[in-house]
Symmetry: C2
Subunit: 497 residues, 2 copies
């Protein structure tokens, strides 16, 4: 058995049995346009129990609100008032936010396939029948439209419920602090719904396991659900699914383990970070030892091929760092490698392995200062000042903690500086404040950011968040955005540490 | 237990176990417009076995030809070339004739619900998977369109097959006569596919059991499949599901036995006819005795309420006789009651019951002559000469056989006379020729009519047939027409007697 097969066998043995709970709908609602951030006000029409007493004709529809976000399988009994003398065509639309339900889904400008638009159509030949939706959906609201059937009968929906699934092993006690308990609860819900057979980046779309999300989800997991075996399983999946030696940014476990085609060097360097934190939180030194060669190989291989004279020069790859396509990223990469090398050193110490990365770290750390504008006290990448660049420099800790905090604050006070477009970018701003001792500032900024999302209607934290534009979408259609996204769950980690 | 409940219990006990066979696809085809009756030429692209070696991308489609009509449940394995990284949306269109597949189904001008348009959409969340279409379809062709999915993978269809169902207990030997064996085979296929848990009028739409179709299907059944218990079951369903005393034109057995709202006096009077023929062919006198009171009640009740001075005067009801809405029908009704009374007399004799319908028959038979134009030798109803009126008069046998044959032929030679628009109307023209001794003329006309349908592309006989207009539809959309229709199967009865 090669090492990849062995790694995959370890991952397979750790596949969780999902915990199932039955969620009941709360209200029948409708959405009215207003000037709120998400653009709609939710009007409660009735208690959901009245659904069992309501009949629907062709052309009618109902929006059912479960009251909170969930991931799982919808089912209901479709019954007829009178005898159903024709088939019925239904459309089910699954909404994480009101716009999914309230807006027309077509035409869509997305460059992604429209197969992601969150609906499905059914032609029901015989009524009564039980409808078990076999596709797993992530949603709070479901709209059922009766598109076509005869006017000789009406239909009703009985026993409509959601079989929710998660690998979060238990509920977590809420925290009492009223200034953050709602943010924490939304983060917990986000994390729970992403925890499936892997830590999914977001349960709405492709069930991908992304390394960038994994590291952040794992952090939040250590202080909440503590399904640490799921972290271990995911680390082994990444190790087992390397492609041409590279740790891929995204891998899949279904239908059988396989790598995606997505490679991102900024995600790859998080592998030693996630492994170190796993060992640190679990004491599972054995896993640290088993996977440390993967870290070494990655760091040394990339250092040899991506760097010249200590500077990161590889620019023909796709890196993430943030959804904003305008972000200049080479400085972030430089900082990221310093961060990763330093963490790898700590990991080696923890598992009593012998490595000597000091010279490399020194070379990288000297070179990185070419990005530093001593006059302004910020890092500048290709003429651009961004929050995210300051953040990654803060993690690399190439200046004093105070200087890093000042660099971050300087960018935050600069209206021309590029802000993060999504919580992933924002997390590293907060983490950099945190590790450089500005824990209060970290919480203040985090509360404003994540609290802003909550105030703007988030039941789970979003993949994309720009407080000026609710319809911002890297996919060119916000109906395809993920509104429950793994990398957005980390406020609970900052709050609960 | 009231008599209705007892009748329904008898019907329930006779519910057949359907015979299942597995049908395999024959070809992958496409349709090209041409000037043939149905408007399309079928071009065979490949043997169906090549389906297992073909991959499809978003926007592509395939038309699979099973080579003959069938009723049942389609299934296939949906597999991916590469890993399916998004859901796939498929549309399946089920065609009895090429136009179902080759033409856009929307917009539809039908006054019936568009839920009858023969397609369904699926959103498949995970691939590979097995797709079992739960709705029963009646079709020869199925088109699968890949409407939406990513371009990272292709899909394929393996093990595609149709689980055909019928209550026809066995296959029937073909007949050797080359002038009629194809017509007979198409009729057998039509009958087989309508034989399900009841004799359905047509398996494409609502699984209705229509009395007008039942009588004709039963006739064909006696000389072919001989599932006589299915006839008995259907008679008991009609008896058990009377509504306000009336035998309804259509009843349903699913989801549980219930009458439709459709009442047609011309169908109702066929109940004693169908019962008589059942007893005649089976010798099951007991059933004849059990259900004879239903016949008596129907005849006497209707005679009291529909007739004045021996003439049928009830015109505010829906009668069928033919799909042509312009047909004048009171003469047909008058003739129909004479026919029904005469058959009821024969039935009474067979079961040794005592009735005296002579006076009624005489009154009706005298009155009916007011429709007869002695000069022309045809029956005229409200100024209209139609084939169908001559036909029902021929069944009533109120003139000599030769005079009835002459009346029918006179109408057939009159270009202004109204022709039947569907095989139901045509059947009675043929039956009237047959019972009045013109058996050769019956076969000649029948061969021309049903042979014409076969030449024009019928795999099963159609609900609607006008050789001048393939798109004629009582529903205002031929995509909703039934192309396998129970009342169209009777040529096998004429041929095989």
């Amino acid at each position: 058995m090669g090492s990849s097969d062995r790694y995959l066998a370890v991952a397979e043995a750790l596949k969780p049995i999902l915990r199932e709970t039955r969620a009941q709908p709360l209200h029948l609602v409708r959405f009215e346009s207003d000037d709120s951030f998400l653009g709609y006000r939710t009007v409660v029409d009735k208690n959901a129990s009245s659904l069992a007493e309501t009949w629907f004709s062709e052309g009618e529809s109902v929006v059912i609100d479960f009251g909170s976000h969930g991931v799982g399988y919808l089912s209901f009994a479709l019954i007829a008032d009178g005898y159903a003398d024709t088939p019925a065509r239904l459309r089910l639309v699954f909404g994480q936010v009101p716009s999914d339900i309230a807006e027309e889904l077509y035409p869509s400008k997305s460059w992604m396939t429209k197969a992601w638009l969150p609906y499905e159509d059914h032609t029901i030949g015989e009524i009564p029948t039980v409808i078990n939706i076999s596709r797993r959906y992530a949603f709070r609201y479901v709209k059922i439209e009766i598109k076509e059937m005869s006017d000789e009968f009406k239909v009703g929906f009985h026993d409509l419920s959601l079989r929710r699934v998660t690998s979060a092993p238990r509920d977590v006690e809420p925290i009492p602090d009223p200034t953050v308990n709602r943010i924490d609860a939304v983060g917990l819900c986000t994390l729970r719904d992403c925890m499936q057979e892997v830590f999914e980046d977001g349960p709405r779309r492709d069930r991908g396991l992304f390394l960038g999300d994994l590291r952040l989800q794992a952090l939040a997991n250590y202080v909440t659900y503590q399904n640490n075996d799921l972290v271990k399983r995911c680390l082994y999946l990444f190790a087992g699914l390397r492609s041409q030696g590279r740790i891929m940014a995204c891998v899949f476990d279904r239908p059988k383990p396989h790598p995606s085609k997505i490679y991102q060097p900024d995600y790859e360097l998080l592998f030693p970070v996630a492994l170190y934190e796993y060992v640190q939180h679990t004491g599972d030194v054995e896993t640290g030892r088993d996977l440390f060669p993967v870290c070494q190989d990655m760091l040394e291989r990339n250092y040899a091929s991506f760097f010249q004279d200590g500077l990161f020069t590889k620019t023909d790859l796709w890196y993430f760092f943030d959804w904003d396509q305008g972000l200049k990223r080479t400085a972030c990469m430089q900082a990221g490698y310093i961060f990763a090398y330093k963490v790898a050193e700590k990991l080696a110490k923890l598992i009593q392995a012998s490595v000597d990365y000091k010279a490399t770290i020194d070379t990288l750390s000297t070179a990185v200062l070419s990005y530093y504008d001593t006059e302004q006290g910020v890092f500048v990448c290709e003429g651009q000042v961004s929050w995210v660049t300051q953040a990654w420099m803060g993690l690399a800790q190439v200046l004093t903690p105070a200087e890093h905090v000042r660099a971050i604050q300087c960018a935050m006070h600069d209206p021309t500086a590029m802000k993060p477009m999504c919580p992933y970018g924002m997390h590293y701003v907060l983490e950099a404040l945190h590790v450089n001792g500005a824990t209060e500032e970290c919480l203040r900024v985090g509360k404003a950011y994540y609290g802003g999302m909550v105030e703007r209607g988030a039941d789970t934290f979003w993949e994309v968040y720009d407080e000026r534009d609710a319809k911002l979408s890297p996919y060119h259609d916000h109906h395809i955005n993920s509104y429950c996204h793994g990398f957005a769950c980390t406020m609970s980690w900052f709050i609960r540490q």
